[in-house]
Amino acid sequence: MKSKLILALLLAAGANSAFADRIDDIKKDGVLRVAAFDSNPPFGFLDAQTRQINGLDVDVARHIASKLGVKLELVPTNPANRIPLLVSGKADLIAANFTVTPDRAKQVDFSLPYFASGQQFIARKGSLQKPDQLAGLRVGADKGTTQEITLRDKYPATKVVSYDDTPLAFAALRNGNVNAITQDGSKLAALLANAPDKDKFEIAPFTLTREYQAIGLPKGEARLQKLVNDVLLSLEKNGEAQKIYDRWFGPSTKAPLPRDFKIGDKV
């Protein structure tokens, strides 16, 4: 609610005119500021050893920064404040498991998608088998995510409880505050793999939507958008995209997930 109000104000103030051709500013400053999650493994999280933010999104951002020839600066973000960070000019890009939607496209531009997933649920074993059962359940979602919006729009009989991020929602599920939580299947798999009491829970065997994640850019930055797209396509071409994917979702990871989307695929 709060962030929506701010966004409306930001947009009303004509946020975009002040920062034309960001790519020159980035090169002049020698720093690319990227909004990345700090609490959502494996996309962006605080690495236990290095005490720096690391993850799949960060790997992608690193390649964009090195293509620009500048230093990468990560701005910790959460689902609710990533668009305000970009629109107010506090970050140059969003690389935070950012799903492409028509609504968001009114406020920001998107690169080509570099990841695909679908909306799924974690619930106690056997308690949630098909979408009809969502009616009447209390379901935890991350504030400001597409999953929260989909639930509220399409499943009015479901009681949606919003949390700051996924681990918090999962804690609520463990404590019995909600009956299920929802997020991208990929993120849920990683979350469940790390949980000590994972035997009690499972990922419900259905997927509500197909969603694509991309880099978020400020509106009207055509040169920056082209550069980001070129980097993404070249990552796929030289096999680096597969390497990044395998590092976080490959067979040797805690939550292996087959790769069913390549950068440049038709969406």
């Binding site: 701010i6 103030a13 002040a18 700090d38 609490s39 605080l46 720096q52 629109v87 107010s88 804690a171």
Partner: protein, 226 residues
């Protein structure tokens, strides 16, 4: 209890990613709290004196400004300054400074009322005595009224300082890596030790606030007692 989660992350919780990266954690909380408390005290004394000594028009203006600031939730003021100022005026204020400024403004608005009430509480006879001795109004305020009044106000000041120190945890909305924020990061990675992590954080705040209250009490001792 699993204390390993605390010991393994102790340096991060206390100092953030410093010295490789920016200072954070408990150290940043303390610095932000002290800076906000100092600024709020200066603002509060200035505004409180203004509310007593200023011309009627100024007093009304100050009253409205303080009333407005007191009515805005701190978290909203931080959010607005951080995300709106760059767009409206093209000024890019770093998160840490935004938080300090927002806390100082609101803390100052609260303290202004304390200061005004403290000065008003001085008996009229003191003013008359001072004026009769040939002091100006400002001299009476500076030499006769304020020294004992400020000492009387000190407990209210300490209250406000402690409250400001705890309010630094609201910096999480703009991604400033203070104590609560880094604790949430650690907690979200480890996932299974919320009790340990947040109990430790509570202890840290207790320690910081107790230190501040102790320092405040020492400040209030009269020279003979010290």
């Amino acid at each position: 209890m699993h204390s390993e989660v605390i010991t393994a992350n102790l340096d991060y919780l206390l100092l953030g990613s410093w010295p490789q990266g920016q200072l954070g954690g408990m150290a940043l909380t303390l610095l932000m709290g002290l800076a906000a408390a100092a600024l709020a005290s200066v603002l509060g004394i200035a505004a409180g004196v203004g509310l007593v000594m200023g011309r009627p028009a100024w007093r009304r203006l100050l009253g409205v400004a303080c009333g407005t600031l007191r009515a805005i939730p701190v978290v909203m003021l931080i959010f607005w300054c951080y995300f709106l100022l760059p767009v409206l005026f093209g000024v890019d204020v770093p998160g840490t400074l935004t938080v300090i400024a927002a806390l100082a403004l609101i803390g100052g608005a609260f303290l202004a009322q304390t200061v005004q009430a403290g000065i008003d509480a001085a008996p009229a006879g003191q003013w008359q005595a001072g004026l009769a001795l040939g002091f100006t109004r400002w001299q009476v305020l500076r030499w006769l009224i304020l020294p004992p009044a400020l000492r009387m106000m000190l407990p209210s000041f300490v209250n406000q300082w402690v409250s400001l120190l705890k309010d630094t945890s609201l910096a999480y909305v703009v991604g400033v890596a203070e104590l609560t924020f880094v604790a949430a990061q650690v907690n979200n990675r480890e996932q299974v030790y919320p009790l340990e992590v947040f109990a430790f954080i509570a202890l840290c705040y207790l320690l910081l606030c107790s230190l501040l209250a102790w320092a405040g009490r020492r400040l209030g001792r009269s020279p003979q007692q010290a």
